[in-house]
Amino acid sequence: MTLLSVSGLHVGFGRDPKAGEVVRGVSFDLAAGQTLAIVGESGSGKSVTALSLNRLVDFGGGTITEGSIRLTRADGDVLEVTQADEAAMTRVRGAEIGMIFQEPMTSLNPVLTVGAQMEEAFRLHRGLAGAAARAAAKDALDRVRIPDVARRLGDYPHQLSGGMLQRVMIASVLACNPRLLIADEPTTALDVTVQAQIMALLGELKQETGMAMIFITHDIGLVAGIADRVMVMQDGRAVEQGALAEVLDHPQHDYTRHLLHAVPHFANGRAARQDGPRAGGAAAAPVLTVQDLVVRFPVKRRMFARAKGEIHAVERVSFDLVPGETLGIVGESGSGKSTAARAILGLVRSRGTLALPGADTRAGASQRPVQMVFQNPYASLNPRLTVESLLAEPVIATGHGIDDAVRARMAQLLARVDLPTNCLGRYPHEFSGGQRQRLCIARALMLNPSVVVLDEAVSALDVSVQARVLELLVDLQREFGLAYLFISHDMAVVERIAHRIAVVHAGQIVEIGDAAAVLSAPRHSYTRRLISAVPNIDRRHVRFTLDTSTVGSLLRPPGYEPPMADWVQVGPDHRARAEDTA
């Protein structure tokens, strides 16, 4: 039975929606109980298509200009969604079509308790009130395996982690047993292990309730685990659709093939780089040595009171970096990996030894041998400065004027990162995300550094852009002999660029060594858990197991010094922290 039938859908924005079309002719059918994955990059129109299905697109300034969306309702009537009035849509939303969104942190109302928002769903569609609604909310949260439900109902959204919130979102959507669930990038903002949990939950619930699902994602790797059918979108059009296996194994369209092959997919160390400078055994002198780096943030209770404790954000991190080498630092959010990077740049107060031996032995060495590229190219470029001012800033900071030599270097670097050299007068918003990140890279290279710290440098980019930026980084590394400290949560990306990998957990390195070795034969239990959570196109319809363990608090009493760690030498360049096996 066809639940939803979309044909020739066109959606536009602005005062003249015909001119501002974002979706230009999408058609698909969805049977009851089926899962359709819509895959595409940002701007492909996948989210707008989804928002059109329950007409939420109206509130974002969009208008359906053409086409039809026919929804078969629970009572068998067929509703033409494009023509329905707001009152009818209000009855459809929630009751028949549920929806969950990308950012769980912002998708729940910050001033209402979790319980109040859960109960609302029951009140609206099941007519429950008071204690009955509360009990129903409790049941629903139990269903998504939230521990300690009674307390959680009284909590506000900011008191819960992202993963928890996404479970709350799912629970509140499932409250009304919708026949269709639209999940718009539900795991993109989450850590990889949490993503695995949410995916598992969705799969399980789908099985239980028999509802249909539209799963929207940019990550084709994620699709493999959950979808029955796949639709690939590009520039507002569906370029390919078909059964899961068909699309993944025999892609017809170039774009699908590009997504499947050009984009980094995790390969358990098989795709790791083999050109590391240590490969021959005769490593050059390190360009950066970090010894026992410690970052602690005091936690104060009152203004004049003594610190009640310290957050041990980074705890005795040590590593070194030789020219031409990439050290990948992987870990989940809150693991302290970014804090460590910021400490190396002097942005946060730290203890420990930072040595830059050999940095000034190179010709034309810079006064600032370590430079950084930040995660979000939208946030790390001042939107009100021109490209020229942006590139000039590091030079000005050293007290130099902008002379012809500097301008020549700007032109050279812009050309090198594949940006037009005549763009000096333009502003960041005129560039795409990938171009902006190239700009950031060019800026970091202005002072001819020996080490570049790349903090989640490609995470905010679309998958196909990611691949090209990674290639550029590798090229630049070879050309300038740069050492990279590459920080990322994305195992697939790290695999492509790192020679060596350090796995960080709770502020400490738990495993470090040659990339291929660490990824193919992880020793530490955390590394293993991390790797097993990475989605993979080859793992179809996998059932993830639910795990509700969380990272413990990093708050320690003042003056606390953790015991020295024991290390296990696993391979020639592969060490892991010893664990209690008990």
Partner: protein
């Protein structure tokens, strides 16, 4: 930018009004008024609006329309200058308070609290005592009254900009504090600042009227909208046009600035600029 304003529905109206006012003030400044704004036509005192005097004459037989044209210039001069002074000093204080933090932040913000809690009239009297009455006194008094508001308006966004990645990036380059404050913080506060400025201009016009009550504002016979309005109060029944003309002029002027401010907020705000999230 100009095109963007005139594409915005409220920007079109607001921009239009401000443009018309600028033209009127320009004509007034060049002396291109229907009559001499200071000329007292003794026989035509309190003449109702008509063909000879479009908006009537005042107690002295001076042409209201001509006085309004010059008054727009005078009032807007005071408003612009005082708001500019308040905005620049307030911005410097707000920026440095946010950046330096700690003791300086406390000193600046508490001083602003002191100023906010201080009666504006006493402040104006004090400034008059030091400088003597006149245009510059009103400018200074109004500037003092609005400075704390600008300090607050700047400090808030500056605190959040301080933690943005591009500021971190600047610090990794070792950029000077002055460079960071001006290029990274200030440049990005321009949008809320512009909005606040357009709103403050409206208040300044009214405050100038209030100061005229105490003889602290524009000195006669120079016309200012506020002075014309406050001079008209006891003639409200005898010659209502005396109140209506400057009243409506102030009202439409403020309307223009507010609409323009709304439009600028929409245009300068990156969240609404793209149209779609």
């Amino acid at each position: 930018m100009i095109r963007a304003i005139f594409h915005h529905p409220s920007g079109r109206i607001g921009g239009g009004i401000v443009l018309v006012y600028l033209v009127l003030a320009g004509l007034g400044a060049l002396g291109l008024t229907p009559h001499d704004p200071l000329m007292q036509y003794r026989l035509d005192r309190l003449h109702p609006p008509g063909a000879a005097y479009w908006l009537g004459t005042d107690l002295f037989g001076r042409d209201i329309a001509s006085r309004l044209m010059v008054g727009i210039g005078q009032s807007f001069f005071v408003a612009f200058l005082s708001v500019a002074a308040a905005a620049s000093v307030g911005t410097v204080l707000g920026l440095t308070a946010a950046w330096v933090g700690r003791l300086w932040d406390g000193v600046v913000m508490r001083s602003m609290d002191v100023l906010l809690a201080f009666p504006a009239i006493l402040l104006a009297l004090l400034i008059v005592a030091i400088m003597g009455p006149g245009t510059w006194t009103s400018v200074l008094a109004i500037a003092f009254v609005y400075m704390p508001i600008f300090t607050r308006v700047v400090r808030g966004p500056a605190l959040s900009l301080k933690t943005r990645e591009f500021v971190d990036a600047a610090r990794t380059f070792g950029s000077s504090t002055r460079y960071i404050l001006t290029r990274h913080l200030l440049l990005n506060i321009v949008a809320p600042l512009t909005v606040q400025v357009t709103l403050a201009l409206a208040w300044a016009l009214l405050t100038e009227a209030g100061l005229s009550f105490l003889g602290l504002g524009t000195q006669p016979p120079a016309p200012s909208l506020g002075l014309m309005l406050s001079d008209s109060r006891n003639l409200m029944e005898t010659a209502p046009w005396l109140m209506i003309a400057p009243g409506v002029t102030i009202m439409i002027g403020i309307l223009g600035f507010n609409l323009l401010g709304d439009a600028l907020r929409d245009i300068l705000d990156p969240k609404t600029r793209g149209g779609r999230a």
